[in-house]
Symmetry: C2
Subunit: 290 residues, 2 copies
Amino acid sequence: MERIEHRACFGGWQDVYRHASETLGCGMNIAVYLPPQAATQKLPVLYWLSGLTCTEQNFITKAGAQRYAAEHGIILVAPDTSPRGDDVADAEGYDLGKGAGFYVNATRAPWSTHYRMYDYVVSELPALIEAHFPASAARAISGHSMGGHGALIAALKNPGRYRSVSAFSPIVAPSQVPWGEKAFAAYLGDDRQAWKAWDATELVAAAPEKLPLLIDQGDADEFLASQLKPERLRDASAAAGHPLQLRLRPGYDHSYYFISSFIGEHIAHHAAALRSPARAYKEDASSKSV
Amino acid sequence: MERIEHRACFGGWQDVYRHASETLGCGMNIAVYLPPQAATQKLPVLYWLSGLTCTEQNFITKAGAQRYAAEHGIILVAPDTSPRGDDVADAEGYDLGKGAGFYVNATRAPWSTHYRMYDYVVSELPALIEAHFPASAARAISGHSMGGHGALIAALKNPGRYRSVSAFSPIVAPSQVPWGEKAFAAYLGDDRQAWKAWDATELVAAAPEKLPLLIDQGDADEFLASQLKPERLRDASAAAGHPLQLRLRPGYDHSYYFISSFIGEHIAHHAAALRSPARAYKEDASSKSV
């Protein structure tokens, strides 16, 4: 891993690293915020997954999360949103290809060569972080929009792997909205049955662990009715008895001004879970993907 | 004034307005953060002047200042850093012309036609804000780098106009460093005597009001030794008996990660001054430019 940025921030360090990802077959940038406490102890980690068009930079420059991470003693890790590089497949438009990995493992050409963001985020990335930084195995995950979808499916598919999960303005039912339909058709093919393994609204029905879902959603979000549809997850969670706190925030839109306003509450939520004893699901004993 | 952006943020609104500036002879964007208290009362205003290459966007997207403005009930106003438009003179390089107005009134062609950022920031902008928003006449001013220079000279040249002034990594002695020498030679001509009226280190010697200067400076700032030289202002302030608090921050650089780490302390500083009774200098009685 090569450190390519190193900036003092709230008493800690906002760094960016570059490494060769085995899972993705390309070089990847990872933003890592190390709070002051990391100088002397192992700390829990909050993984942040960004939305369409983003890189590892958006969250660290715009969310203002470092202040809260420094208060609570949590490492923040924000990867890029897709494989990158000249030999990585791409498409016209902002919602497919580079910057739009959708946190799935693609099964169709040309995407399947590099687009394995699910395995990258769930497996390679935490292993890398826990090997190279003062990071404990206590993990939380959150994200925005496409990244909110990524956080939800990562948690729902991997009981025991995360202590807590939250999302801002997530794509909760990608199989049922234009962004998800376009991406899933390309990455996974036309068989909609295969999409269900990557859709939070489908996964929540059979999730073996009842990890509570925390979601904030602005009611002035320009994508609310067309792409986000949080009521789909609300109904599915209610039917499954899966705990969900869905907070509609009056006046807020889809931007980082919304995220910055409530990221402090999310980090406090994750900090409480990360400080508590490990949950009943032990990864080594019963972890499996659904 | 036309509102071109309107985003909910920390219970208030992060807006951007566009207006035709009489002083500058061009259209200008102004970022205005209205905290929740602005819905029901007049509030004091903190003016923020950004640095080289910036627009009205950098501060509002990267500094995380809205949280503190909402806590303290302060309106934030961040103008662009130069006149803009196709008929506005420009130059090669990032440090002259558009994005580099240096908060002076240019006296030399072709710059003198539009480059009057000092009059714009000190006079037209506050008049506009106080006429169109729930803004009191209690003003504070701050800025970064070139904008820190702008904040310092605006306060030093206008006793009574600002209740408080602070700066991050300011260009304190523009007459003595490459950035300032290039800009002042273009905007003001070769007579260095004329530069003194726009240089904080010169102005502090004769400032009629001893408004305390608060400066934060990272000691890992890549421009510290070549362009910033805070010791020049420290020495001049000491000689003049002008109060200056200069805080060197170990490890911090010139970026918004530095600003975001300490903007909360600056806003608390300004809030205390803005809440206190008006100072002895009354603008209507004794304001004059030096």
